[in-house]
């Protein structure tokens, strides 16, 4: 059985936030570049994987950002910011599903 680690245990920062008024963006940052590089190569974090954590939302961007050891996904907001029924004006409490992403434990150390 392949050992796995949870993203929440190895990422430096996991967050969500509005990106302007009609998008919600999620960011994942890693502490160490080698770990980041292995995560990126592992295929455990993909456009599809992140998308499944936000069912029904249209994913508009998925980018790796090497200078910051980060990966970002952006979605259309489920409802417009601050309109009727919105309960997260800043969009800053939509990140928790990302904690669940599991990665092969090998991302922590090289071969």
């Amino acid at each position: 059985m392949a050992a796995t680690v949870k993203l929440v245990d190895i990422a430096k920062t996991i967050r969500s936030k509005n990106a302007k008024s009609f998008h919600l963006t999620v960011d994942i940052f890693f502490k160490e570049r080698p770990v980041y590089e292995r995560v990126k190569a592992s295929g455990a974090i993909t456009r599809e994987r992140v998308s499944t954590l936000y069912p029904g939302l249209e994913l508009t961007e998925f980018v790796w950002f090497d200078p910051g050891c980060a990966v970002k996904a952006t979605f259309r907001r489920p409802r417009p910011v601050g309109g009727p029924g919105d309960t997260d004006v800043f969009g800053c409490q939509q990140h928790a599903p990302l904690y669940r992403i599991e990665l092969p434990a090998s991302v922590l150390a090289g071969d």
Binding site: F22, D27, L57, T60, F65, Q93
Partner: protein, 453 residues
Amino acid sequence: MEELVAVSTTGSLGWVPCGELSFRGALARGPSYIGAQHGSSDCGPLYLGAQVPYTLRKWEKHDLELMLTAGRELGIPVIVGGAGGMGTRKGVDRTVELVREIARERGLHFRMAVIYADQDPEYLKDKLRAGAITPLGIRTPVTKDEIDRATTVVAMMGVEPLIAALERGAEVVIAGRCTDPAIYAAIPIWKGYDPGLAWYLGKVLECGSLSAEPPSLTDANTGRIRPDHVVFEPGDPKRRATVASVASHTLYERGNPWRQLEPGGVLDLADLTLEAVSERAVCARGARFVPRSYTVKLEGAARVGFRAFAINGTRDPIMIAEIDSVAAGLKAEIETRMPGAGRDYQVFVHLYGKNAIMGDLEPVTQTAAHELCIMVQAVAKTEELAIEVAEMANHLLFDFPFEGLKTTAGNVASFGSVEVFLPQYKEVYEFMIDHEMRLDDPLECFALHIEEV
């Protein structure tokens, strides 16, 4: 060496009183100018639509007083962008009044430029007819009707109106809606520095020390721009700029960090490099500004109703187990008893402790909570109707039936009273306009006034 030092006082003027220690620390770096952003659409459309502030006057005065006093002592420009909250005319006028008040009290004198960002509806309709307004955040074309329905429409200015103010000798610039980085990019661009580095400087400084470790929205930060690089170092000696913290802010609130749209071009970070140059300073190189057609973002909000809340709690495990049927049943019962659902009013039942924050996106289906908050949000055409809907929710919940009910003395705990809760501002707004407008001249829609204070 040729350089300019930018001080970002705070990431949000008057959000809370800004950190004075960090501001003093920033001033010790030999600043060339002092800036702060006030405006943000991040708090929702209310502040644009209703033209109300989201910060306390007292705290805004605290921050402005520090900036103006330091600016006059050092003889350097002070720039506030998005004044008054969302940079509407009313907001700008509130901030301008505060600036005059501080000047009187402190015996300060300066030349002030006031730049408005509000747009005349007829001008917008001309632009629309000319095909100069295209979708941005809102994907459908704007209509004349939406232009008329918006209580006000602002355009986000770039660096050019700020530079025009400085060229006329302004020592204090109070600008309406403005892109946040422009506040810090204006002077370096005016002085001939690389626009890519200048815009990147603005991006990293826009939110005060939020780009530092530990982050703080309301503590001062500095950026030292030279011909081929920028060095960031926060004002508070307890905070550090690190490669990770600066990179982190580069992604902040952006859909795609590699290409960030600004008036007149794109901040292209494909060749960005970040390097620690001390324990608490980071050097950035390689940011490029790629010109494109000159556009500004338009924002407009229209009132869609009034809001009222019913807030109650349950500690009953049986009710908690049945809460989804209670929530759906309550909504249905209100809609049966009160005609006009969907047309005159909307009911939202938010279950705090279960899924109020993520709604349909919530992956946890079974709550482990032993108590829940049931918040009913009523949004209606009139304030009276919103109160009526919330009151109905309050009273129905008290003895709302559900499967397995044991208690017959009351289903929910009310705190303090059984009244309906009304927010400070009851109006609900929605962004109707979030579009891009092409300009022939970057100054054409921003009115600039000069005043001797």
